[in-house]
Symmetry: C2
Subunit: 672 residues, 2 copies
């Protein structure tokens, strides 16, 4: 399909993306700029402050258009009579760019903005689903703790560790947006980029290199655009059925974890997996108990682990672990990788680059070296994890690649940094493929970038605070699912109960229960003990909380047949399982701005309670259907906001009257 | 004297400022850039966030030099064959610039930086005297409360009122710096500008218009450069002798103020003035008691004020009040100004522009209208203040001119904003001149900009927090004196005791006493009750504090003959009374970085105790003299750091052996 049309006009040109005027380039108001600058990077434990020492920003006011057999070519220059600085070849699906001066390392594009336009995507955004009116730097990093300069938590984290973050910080950025004007735009670059949606008349997209391509997508239906993006960036590998047929319990108390699991099963929980991230052993830091980053079973902490895993497998319960792309310098794998030359190096010495992860140091495996990537996939993940019996793991991190690292293939760290999460995902996927476990073994990642979903079967929303806070609490995982879903990622989930507990901020029973309710209606329901398990209430630490959790696991397990159909649909269309309402209900524009609810497929609307002290909740139900409140079974016409009772145990969920899954939903409605 | 030399070189040119290479302009590394942008101004009660929507930044790589009878002219263009964008006429004292495209509204200059270079000035800087390594936006504004993002005070003020500020925020910015390379540079513009001293190889100076001139000054001695700047920007009018012959008591309790003054005199204080800012009456807001901004005596709060003033005058005590350039909309002067058309207008209506000052609104007198300026000088300050009997006042504010205001003379608010403090100073000076009181009546200002000192006889360091904090406490007033002194301003002082008390932060007896000690050694010793007098300890609220204050007023009064000689010197040379050590002791480079001490003239070194809980203190004594510790009279060789006892009542002060004032200093040393 032809998405792009170039229309020479006056002293410039227009460019259409589908039916939307995307660029209006004129001498007096150019849409394209190139320049030069020098990046200044201030990095501290995954938190980055990037600033630009700008030398030049040249409006490319002068354009000439050549017709060639392959299509139109636009030559752009600063002014008539000066050499062109940018060549753009226009094809059906976008623009291929070539900088004609090798010194150019800055690029800006001004796209036409329209009043009321909504803009979705940017990777996985935690604070705002609609990006209109704000600026979004796109650089993989820690998302920050608090993420809101008006909160005490953010202030304390900024003060003590520069780690408070802001609304745009994310583990998974992606230079792609979908416009409500029914087109999508993607910058094909791994450089730092920034989408600035503040100006009422234009969107300014910045990148710290001239992107290879500006890719465009258009369709009348948003769902079709998301499908195109999923095709372009890669369908997520299908979720294994076991992963949504029960809860995955996150416990990390050594072999005590097994007994705790049994107690939770005895309390009525449906369990499909046991995730023990401490399978590698622990080290204690001021942040909390951290893992020992040497990726092999620790049979001191887990004696007879192989046998435990086999026994669980006999009962249909999978065992999951933890890995990340770094190697602690006091571990055996570091020594092995160093001896083989598999570690990324410093610029100033033929020595491994060592990164401070908070009271311990690590080497970085250099995945640009194919032998190193193979080693990690086969020797580490393959032999130490899959062959040992693991069926899954958290594939953590990916955001910390130093920009001043020296890599095997010569890639500049500034360009490798954003690419790293996707490379890391590919190493994990390759390991699974090497053992023929694709579609059966599961790994989940918080870090991401363009294309991560082609390799990683499951995103996870990162490390929320254990609270209801607006920018770092339970509600952010909904926005994360919505935005990453717009990029064509189908599967998303979160740490049940949140992760980060600092400065005395700890989990309440209410938070745990509301988060259980939310996770019951996401494809994977996985709990986490958090960074400071001993300071925080755990699911099995309170009988009411445990009983509620067990009930929610039963709801989750009961939904499995429905989720299986959503997985089928995702495989076919690329549509996410947790879905912005307008993908199914585009003709109801009141849906477009909703960011605290999601369609769980087309037949269910989930509006989790994400504020404390609430026993009622309001939800918007899309026009074009009649909706049945899951628990009492009452009917509501669509196209309106309803207020419903939302006691603990009955999260606001609605299903579509006439759904082929009506019998299942009705049965589930009788479970609470 | 010829300061500037242009040296054509290769594909560009060098430009010398005295003996320093200032510009090294080449095709590959241009020193000059022009561009276009649109300012975005977010203002809230005198706090501003300025951001730039940049369109173009054009390196002016191509230069040609013409010789003309008047001197060299440089034509600068983006590249060969394109029209020149900037014309620079080089003269002995600087560069005259002309933008050749009227659209150009951004300008950048990169000056050569050298390792170890120190940079002083930028107007009145509160946090850093040496600006090397940091970036300084230059825009008159509230200085912020806390001014340090790591403090709870700053966080709370940012959260509640966007008012926390940062190290560079100042009431008095000025686009002028003095380099340790023995030159000074001034940008002749009132536009927003920014001095960026972070890069090790260049200083980048930015302005939001092409400045009319880049003025250069050079001399072998820093003192001579400061003298040149004082000549250029205007000598401060001479301080009236009464202002340094005793303390000015700041009291604002209505007529109770008189009785409190008598009690302080009875306790031994030497008093030369009584400053009652509440002479206009009060209004109460959540920030504290605010004044009623209708500039006339309030004879309800001060019955028989004329008679009180006359009675004080008979005893040689002056009465001072308060004024600022705004008129409360509920006051009579507002109505008068509005009826006469003297108020600045809104862009969108022929209505006065009303500014929110925190729970009350005011109009802005439009001083670009000569009739309005005359009215304010004659009708308000002249008739209501001077004719009434006032001998001085705080001329507050000047930083709040809205950038979107409509002014009588058509000046863009973005250009008028920085100019306003100097215009405001001129209105005050004109009022005083109209009553032939120049050199007798005194006003003092916190706001400033280029040229403010030509009109305003006394700077005041603004509204410190009532504490010892690094960026908003007692120590900042020293840096303020040093930096504003480098601009050629001779007279500076501060609110004794600090001003801002928020969130339970209140004055301690120790703070009041240390501040008394500091003010004794500044030309004007003026107390202030602060924004919340009732919550805070006052000088007369504790017998120990009062007795200490009284002793310090006697020291201050005893110093008057010495201060008179410093005023003579200031009038002659432009050298400040409180003085960076290197102005007198340039040959001792260990002096150059000192920012917590000052020379009180050439014969005295003052090193105030600006930290709590100290009974000893260290001070650096310049090489080239022998120094006598004021109180015990012990001798110290210069060129070293000494640690001395610094109990309350004996601030670390040293005088130069051999000083013609030795007898006076010896006598003062026996007073404690």
């Amino acid at each position: 399909m032809t998405v792009v049309r170039l229309i020479p006009a006056g002293d410039g040109f227009d460019l259409m993306a589908g039916d939307a005027l995307l660029l209006r380039h004129r001498v007096a108001s150019p849409a394209l700029f190139v320049g030069t600058g020098t990046a200044d990077v201030d990095a501290y434990r995954g938190n980055y402050v990037l600033s630009d020492r700008l030398d030049a920003r040249i409006p490319l006011t002068h354009s000439t258009i050549d017709s060639t057999p392959a299509g139109a070519v636009i030559w752009l220059a600063a002014s008539a009579g000066t050499p062109p600085l940018l060549r753009i070849a226009v094809d059906d699906a976008g623009l291929a760019l070539a900088a004609l001066d090798p010194a150019l390392n800055r690029f800006w594009l001004r796209c036409v903005a329209e009043p009321g336009e909504r803009l979705w995507g940017g990777g996985e955004q935690l604070s705002y689903f609609d990006m209109a009116g704000r600026r979004f730097p796109l650089w993989t990093s820690e998302p920050g703790v608090g993420r809101d300069k008006s909160t005490q938590m953010t202030f304390q984290c900024d003060r003590d560790g520069r780690s408070g973050g802001d609304y745009w910080n994310t583990n998974y950025p992606q230079p792609t947006y979908v416009s409500s004007r029914r087109y999508a735009l993607h910058l094909d670059t791994t450089a730092y980029s920034c989408f600035d949606f503040r100006d009422p008349t234009f969107h300014e997209l910045e990148a710290w290199e001239v992107p290879a391509r500006i890719e465009l997508f258009a369709a009348d239906r948003f769902a079709a655009i998301v499908g195109q993006l999923s095709t372009r960036f890669g369908r997520q590998p299908r979720l294994p059925a076991w992963s949504y047929e029960g809860a995955i319990l996150g416990l990390k108390q050594g072999v005590e974890s097994f007994a705790r699991m049994e107690a939770m099963i005895a309390a009525g929980a449906v369990v499909s997996g046991l995730w023990c991230e401490d399978w590698v052993g622990l080290r204690v830091t001021s942040f909390g108990k951290r893992l020992f980053w040497d990726w092999k079973a620790n049979e001191t902490r887990y004696p007879h682990l192989r046998e435990w895993i086999a026994a669980l497998a006999d009962r249909g319960i999978r065992f999951l672990g933890y890995v990340n792309p770094y190697l602690a310098i006091d571990g055996s794998l570091y020594a092995e990788a160093r001896a083989a030359g598999y570690l990324a190096l410093r610029q100033d010495a033929d020595e491994p680059y060592v990164v401070d992860f908070g009271e311990f140091d690590c080497g970085v495996v250099d995945f640009t070296n194919p032998a190193a990537a193979d080693w990690f996939a086969d020797r580490v993940i393959g032999r130490e994890m899959l062959d040992y019996g693991l069926s899954g793991w958290m594939a953590d991190f990916g955001e910390y690649l130093p920009t001043d690292v020296r890599l095997h293939d010569g890639t500049d760290g500034m360009l490798a940094h954003n690419a790293w999460p996707t490379i890391w995902a590919e190493v994990n996927a390759r390991a699974i493929a090497s053992r023929d476990r694709t579609g059966d073994a599961l790994f989940f990642m918080r870090a991401g970038f363009t294309g991560v979903g082609a390799h990683c079967p499951l995103l996870w929303a990162g490390d929320q605070c254990v609270d209801f806070s607006r920018h770092d609490g339970i509600g952010t995982v909904i926005r994360a699912a919505l935005s990453s879903g717009m990029m064509g990622n189908a599967y998303h989930h979160s740490d049940l109960g949140g992760y980060t507990s600092l400065y005395g901020n700890v989990r309440t029973p209410e938070l745990l229960m509301r988060w259980s309710e939310l996770c019951a209606f996401t494809p994977v329901m996985r709990s986490h003990e958090g960074n400071r398990p001993d300071d925080n209430l755990q699911l099995d630490g309170d009988p009411t909380v445990l009983s509620h959790f067990a009930a929610m696991t039963r709801v989750h397990a009961a939904l499995a047949p429905y989720v299986a159909t959503l997985c089928d649909e995702a495989a076919k269309t690329g549509l996410p399982v947790q879905r912005p309402l307008m993908l199914d209900w585009q003709d109801d524009p009141d849906c477009w701005g909703i960011e605290t609810q999601y369609g769980y497929g087309r037949d269910m609307i989930v509006a989790p309670v994400i504020e404390p002290d609430r026993d009622r909740w309001t939800a918007y139900l899309p026009a074009g259907a009649t909706w049945i409140h899951l628990w009492p079974g009452t009917q509501h016409d669509g196209g309106r906001t309803v207020e419903v009772a939302a006691p603990i145990g009955q999260p606001p969920v609605f299903w579509r009257a006439g759904s082929p899954h009506a019998a299942l939903f009705t049965a589930i409605g009788h479970m609470a």
